[in-house]
Each structure stands twice: as C-alpha cells, then as structure tokens.
Symmetry: C3
Subunit: 268 residues, 3 copies
C-alpha cells in the first residue's frame, strides 16, 4: 500500500466536492467541535439520536459515527438502531469506545455494540483498545495510560477479532486491518490539551470512509490530516484555547504543499 | 415599513439596556454558541428543558426560543409546555424547525408544535420552510438544497398559514408576514462553515422580539445584525475557527457606523 | 491563614504534576469549556452521568463536580448516586446550584442534594446563595441581581448550615467556612459576558480540592487563578469571543510572576 501526499489530497478534494452527510451519535462535550471540524473539511454533519428517527437519519447518510463518551441507555439503544440501519445499506461505520475499561457499564455497552453488528473502523487510544481485547485495564478517564508503540500487537488483535480496521491513537498512530499496518508519526502534544481531539479524529474518519472505499487507506489519510493540521495549528497558537480554533482554520486552509512538507508515515 | 440603520441600532441599544431574559430550549450542538451570542449582544440567556420546570422558566422570560435540532420525545414535550406557557402570558416565541423533512419523526414533531399553539416567528432555511408547507422535500442534513430567492413564495405561504412572521435564511434572507416582505442581502459564505449560525440567528431573534413589538421589524433587524456581523467577522478571520470568535467579538463591538456602511435591505 | 502567590503556585504545580481526575456531572452548555479549562491547568476531566456507571466513575476520581444548570430528574438521580459514592470514599465534592431560586423544581433539586449528603464546597452567585438560605429570591436566569459585598453574611450562614466552604462569586468573591473568610478582588467584567465562567470556576475548584486538603485555602486559590487569568485574558482580547480562548490560553501559560503582580486578596 502506497501512502503519499497525493492520496491524502485526493480524498480531501473528494470530501469538499461531494460534501458527504456524516451522521454523528456522539457525546455532549465534543458535538460542537466535531461538527465544526467536519464543516471545515467540507463534509456535512448531522446529529440525531432519538430512537424515533435515528435509523431514518442513518439511511440518508454517507457514513455513521458512534461515540459513547457520555453514554446512557437510550443513547446506546439509538446507536444500535443506527448501526443496524447502516449495515443494512452498506454505510460505513466508525466506532469510538470512549473511556472503555473505566466502568463495567461502559465496557459492556461497547461490547454489546460490537457484538451486534460489524463496524468498519474502531478508533481509540491504547488503553481503550486493550480494554476491548482484555476487559481488564482501567483507563484514567479518557486519557491513555499506555505508550501506543508498545501495543501495536493489541491493535492487530482487535482488528482481526472484529474484522475491521483499528486506529489506535497515541504519539504514534497505528492504523491496521490486522495484516497491513500504517504508522503515522504526525501530531503535536497540544492535541492532548484540548478535549475531543480524539472524537474529532473519529468524526473525520467518517468523512474519509464516505469517499474512500478502502478503510485502511481512508483511515490513514484521516490520521495524517489530523496530525498535520495539529502540527500547523500548534505553531500558530498561544496555548490550547487558540490551538483549538487554529486547528479548525487549518482544516479549512490546508494545502497539498503543507501535506507534502510534513507527511511522516511508515507502512509495515 | 422603513428599515434603516437607526432602527437596528435602537433595538440593539434596547437589548443592552433591558438585558431581556431569553429562554432557550435548543439543541446540544449549539447551546454554548447561542448563549455566548446572546450575552455578546447584551441579552441574558437561560437554558432549561425539564418538564418539571420548563413552564415556570418560560413565565420568567421575555421571549422563548424553540429549536428541534437534537430532538427527542421528552424535549418535544418540554417545548409544548413552554410554548403553552408563553402563549398564556403573551411572551413572543421563535421556532426553528431544524432538519424538518429529513425524517418523518422530525416533520411530525414540528407539525405538532405548530398545530398546538401559535408562534411569533418561524426561522429556517428554504428546504425546511418548503418541508413545513409540503411535507415532501428531504433536506440534506440541516443544509439548504434550495436557492432561497426562488422560494420567496413558500415563505409567504407558511407565514399566512401560521399567521406568523417567517424568516427564510439563505444567500438572501426573506423576512415576511405573508403580506409585506423584507429582503436582507447582508451575510458571508463562511457563515455556512460554522455550525449553529442558523440557530444563533433564531436565538438572537428571541432578543429582538423581547424589545420590539413588531415581529416583522424585529426579525429584519436581527437578520441585518447577523449578516453585518458575519461580513465583518469574515474580514477579520483566517478560517471558520477564528470566524466563530470574531463573530462573537463583533456582536459585542458593532457600531452604528458599521451598520450604516453595510446595511443592504429591500422592502417589497 | 496566609494567602500568598507561592501557595497558589504550589497548588497549580501540584495539579500539573498529579493530573487529578475530575468527574463532572454538569450542564450541556458549559461541558466543553469546563473540560478545556481543566485540561489547560493540567487536570484530567471526565464527564459521565448514566445511573448505570456514575458511582463507579466517581470512585475512580479525585474529586466530584456537580452542576445543576440543565437539570432533569435522571441527572439529579445520577448526582445523588455520585455524591453518595464520593462521600463513602472521602472524595471532595463541589456543588454549583445554577439558577436556584428561579423555579421551584430547581430549588427543590438543590435542597434534596444538599440534604442527602455533605458537600465540600458550594459555589454560586449571591442570588443563588441567598436562595439556598431563604428560598425566596427569584434569580434572573443565572445572573446575580445582588451585589455580593452586601451579602457576605449570607455566605457565612450557608457555610455554617451545611458545614462546608461557600464561594460566593461577584465583583468581589467571598470564600468562607463560616468562621474565616477570604475576599478575592481579582477578576474582570468580561467574565460575565461569556457563558459558563461560573461553572468553570466550580470545575477548577474540583481540581484544587483534589490536591489541597484545606478546602478554604484550595477554594481561595481557585478563585485567585480564575480572577487573575480573567484579567490577563481581558487585556489580550477584542471582545467576549476572543476572551474565551485567551482565558484558556492564560490558564495554560500563567506564571508565578503574573500571580505575584496581580494577586488582590483580603483575609478577614
């Protein structure tokens, strides 16, 4: 698999051109930031969670984003209905198991979603990925306690088990289908000082899956966009407050030249 | 009807002086941005949705803002109770039928709200307005698929049907009571790249209705404020991230001179 | 009690070093801003409210933040379970009675929380504090109608009644355990033009309580951090939009020198 700046750029152009509708069932904390990130790259976000309409909305969408950050029983039921609808129509699905491992309810909810119907991509930090595999690591809130490079194997195990692509975020991002893996080295520590950057990565993955038929490639392109935009924003800002808006600005203004100058990816 | 900068300015000064309390039952995505926009113009926002208090809160308010963006059954029930309370006390109401036409549940919820009690203003994009009239257009998320200038007639039909003012947003904003209409040409394309600018227009309308007894005039002033602030913010920003905050800054700092220099309105 | 810049600084360093986990059950409007404020000072925020996990999450946390801004019955039940869990393990609790006095339901919910289990700190504006004492003042939304300096006595009464520390926000902040009181004179009027600055003060108090065993001192340090960061941000911004992000930036970059140059506190 060839990962190069032109492939990333081509996907970004396709998102701008087609403006795919991304149905997000996500947490309260990050809704605005993820909606603005999707708009900035040219996608069209919609948020809807009521049992009464969630399947109908998914059927209109080009991809589905599920995020359990502020889960509750009705929202999990809504996710189940949306996931079933997405599967029935072949709509790609990204799943973000926020905070899995922190509480039994959260772990159980994530497992019941994954056991019900396949997802296209799981994106989480290392402690969340390991928790999905082993059910034994307690995460410290939504932060990763584990150095992701030590845990590449765990990402592969989860990918094989769920027959999906796994994107494990960390200092190095691991994107794998269990057989091929890409390591993305772009990014900046300030990204951990703004809430919802992981959730934003998940939402943006939804946009890439909507226009790229290869989830491993689309997911890797999304990771590169996130990491490169994060680096540029970090250079322009004065702290995490101005970082957040510089990140959105950069998603909107990013050029092929900037991608070419910064892309750092390894294919294994 | 005379629309001039002094009328807009006079309403803005009245909002700053009286700091009207605006009760918002709105969607999760835009709550913070609409609250900050209301604070920036000098109004006092409150958000409350529980069935147990929603009518009591409305009775304290100077206007009520209803927005179905992330609707669910309990929230719609809350909106019904608040609307009834507002009507019982003559408190003006703005209704934003976000995404109407996208799903049957959403369309049904909007219709049941409108059938129950009168509202003062309906604000939506062209596809939402047409959906309320015809129940047949499927919107692409919350984006308008229809050029609003082609659909002025639809705004008039809805205004007559509901005996209210309709503000149809788009490149040109149409504000009509079914008989007289004002066309506002201010605004900037970046406003479509930030989530919740339509919802913010709705919330700000609530503030104008609270201090201006003429809804057609108040609504037109609100549309001019939104459009002019959007133009100024677009000139100061580097993308949609910085646009969002420049917009709030501009709402706070806008001068009569800036309004005089930019106002572009037609009265039909 | 000695309040000096070194004590404030020492607490800030301890938060950065220990990165305490702060469990927030708070309102929809301010979730993102409070999470970002906690991250900016080095704490680790988590938001979870489902009855099925709320106690488990609290047991993992170093402090608990309860805020009734957009309350509803299930959320209040969740707060009750979390509070009970926190008390069982000696985890400090901050309670923000947003809008108490505005509606009977809100007042009743706040009282039932306070009657159930002790809290470490109550933080509110003067009208909220007085409402908790007297049940008779109707607040204008969440804004304070009462000059806080006239109401120091009310803060003391509430502190004695609930055997806790009370932080009454206003132009002058009063922090008292009913016997000793500290008055913080730092702050800036723009802080009232951004939603959720009070809620952010509450959340940040959670971080200070997690690392400082003396709630009166920790709370006073939190008030000084808020006020000083607010002053610095006000000097850097162009309105409430840019204020909001400058405030987060300042939380992240604040130096001991800046604290020394600005701290204005009285011990009574």
């Amino acid at each position: 698999m060839q990962i190069d700046p032109y492939g990333v750029w081509s996907d970004i152009q396709a998102i701008k051109k087609n403006s795919p509708l991304i149905h997000n069932i996500t947490n309260y904390v990050v809704m605005e930031h993820t909606a603005n990130s999707l708009l900035a790259i040219g996608a069209s976000p919609v948020m809807a969670h009521a049992l009464e309409e969630v399947a109908d909305m998914t059927m209109l969408a080009n991809s589905l984003v599920l995020n359990i950050g502020t889960l509750s029983p009705l929202w999990i039921q809504g996710m189940m209905l949306a996931l079933k609808a997405a599967n029935s129509k072949g709509i790609p699905v990204v799943f973000d198991p926020v905070g899995v491992g922190a509480t039994p309810y959260r772990t159980q909810a994530a497992q019941s979603i994954l056991n019900q119907n396949p997802v296209t991509v799981i994106r989480g930090n290392a402690s969340e990925i390991v928790s999905l595999n082993e059910n034994q690591v307690v995460s410290k809130g939504v932060d990763s306690l584990i150095n992701s490079s030590d845990y590449q194997e765990q990402a592969k195990i989860l990918a094989v088990k769920n027959e999906c692509v796994v994107w494990m975020s960390g200092q190095t991002d691991v994107i794998t289908d269990g057989h091929s893996s890409n390591l993305v080295h772009n990014g900046h520590p300030l990204m951990c000082k703004v809430t919802g950057m992981g959730c934003t990565a998940t939402a943006i993955t939804g946009a890439f899956l909507a226009i790229n038929k290869n989830p491993l490639l689309g997911c890797t392109h999304a990771a590169l966009l996130m990491g490169i935009a994060g680096e540029i924003a970090a250079e322009k800002c004065h702290g995490p407050g101005s970082f957040k808006l510089a990140f959105i600005d950069t998603l909107y203004t990013l050029t092929l030249d900037e991608i070419e100058g910064r892309l750092r990816v390894e294919t294994l």
